[in-house]
Amino acid sequence: MSAIELPDSMRVQWPWRARSARVNGWRVSYVDEGTGDPVVLLHGNPTWGFLYRDFIKPLMAAGHRVVVPDMIGFGLSEKPTREQAHSLDGHIANLTALMRQLDLKKITLVCHDWGGPTGFGFAITDPHRIKALVIMSTWAWPLPPAEFHTRVMPWRMMHAPLVGPYLLGRHNALAARGVYLSVVDRNKFKVRGRTAYDAILPDQAARLLTWTWPRWIPLDDTARAFDRFAWLERELPKIDRPAMIIWGREDDVFDYETFSARFKKMLPQAEGPHLVTGRHFLQEDSGPEIAKLIVDFLVRNTTRG
């Protein structure tokens, strides 16, 4: 168990028991509540399960088991202290290990940010476990990158050699400031969320993945993850399952016109895009609304199925 203590104001919003398992050599922390076909909620950088705090109760009330893993390196999961401990393939294997260990089937996989490439990688590896996909502010192809990710100021500077460990390590700038800049209602976020992302990464070494993940985003065809993303792009359309695309209207990392349209082309059966108020961390601005979209989507597809 982790010794990290959430402030009371955050604990009230996150009353769930943290369970843990050994996966792929690491200790993963996850929430597992409710009964029914599972909905697995995947976060990205630099968040953790808390991002989905508005989703768990409505999904449980609608008759679903809700599983929310903290990615290795984030939240209450183990946080390796060497950059070489992290790779996209390794994180896909981490998730695959947990899903197999829990023997989850008929999964609705909800993917956001790096929860996209890792979740899609798992779905392609074990397609027989997947019932449906929900896709939010993420990507699944090598090129072109989001325009935001090509800019030196602020994105590439933020994780440049030595600058990344200083800004995002010593100062926790992505969790403490970056998320804040990537929501619409910043005042609400200051009260409801900010501390939970800051406090969960209390030490410099614990923040390593916040500057390591950005270095895995392909910017050209020499990128080390290029082939894996090309595989995602090639294989994801073969996941012939119900899908839904949800995007933030104000998303300035993965703009909805470009990114949701590309997912729609890859997965023509997908509903949406359903546009909600939100920048990249749309769950912070529109959590209950998105949860209802997912509940209704699953009702429709259960009825059909």
Binding site: E83, M158, P161, L162, V163, G169
Partner: protein, 138 residues
């Protein structure tokens, strides 16, 4: 602002190496590796000697270059302060020094990497040393 400069190896008696920052992947953008390689003559020096730089606070910092099999050298860098052996670090001073070292590095890397963009990024992220710089200019 006092500059950061490469200096010769100082006397180390009575000092300790105090770890302050590590970079596991200095070649993520290869121009950064090239900067350190050129500045500290690493193609010739290899692992033989660390690099030393002065800082605004007067502390000297050691740059230890890390090699990793199968990768160009250096693969990583560790930065240590050199305080008196038993004296604790002044964390705020170290933070300002590290910011100055980053400014020095970015200026040396050059091209699309500019000190102005570093300052803008630091200010956007509310980094104290960057805000101090910004306030001094106003």
């Amino acid at each position: 602002m006092a500059d950061v400069n490469k200096i010769d190896a100082p006397a180390l008696a009575g000092k300790r190496r105090a770890f302050v920052l590590a970079e596991d992947r200095v070649g993520h953008y290869p121009e950064f590796r090239a900067f350190f390689s050129m500045t500290f003559d690493l193609d010739r020096q290899g692992l033989a000697e660390p690099g030393y730089v002065s800082s605004p606070s007067g502390l000297i910092y050691v740059l230890v270059f890390i090699g990793r099999s199968g990768e160009p050298f250096p693969a990583g860098i560790e930065i240590y302060a050199l305080p008196d052996a038993l004296e604790p670090l002044d964390d705020a001073a170290v933070d300002r020094d590290l910011w100055a070292i980053l400014r020095w590095m970015i200026a040396g890397v050059g091209g699309e990497w500019t000190v102005e963009k570093l300052e803008q990024t630091g200010s956007l992220l509310r980094i104290p040393a960057a805000l101090d710089d910004s306030a001094r200019k106003d």
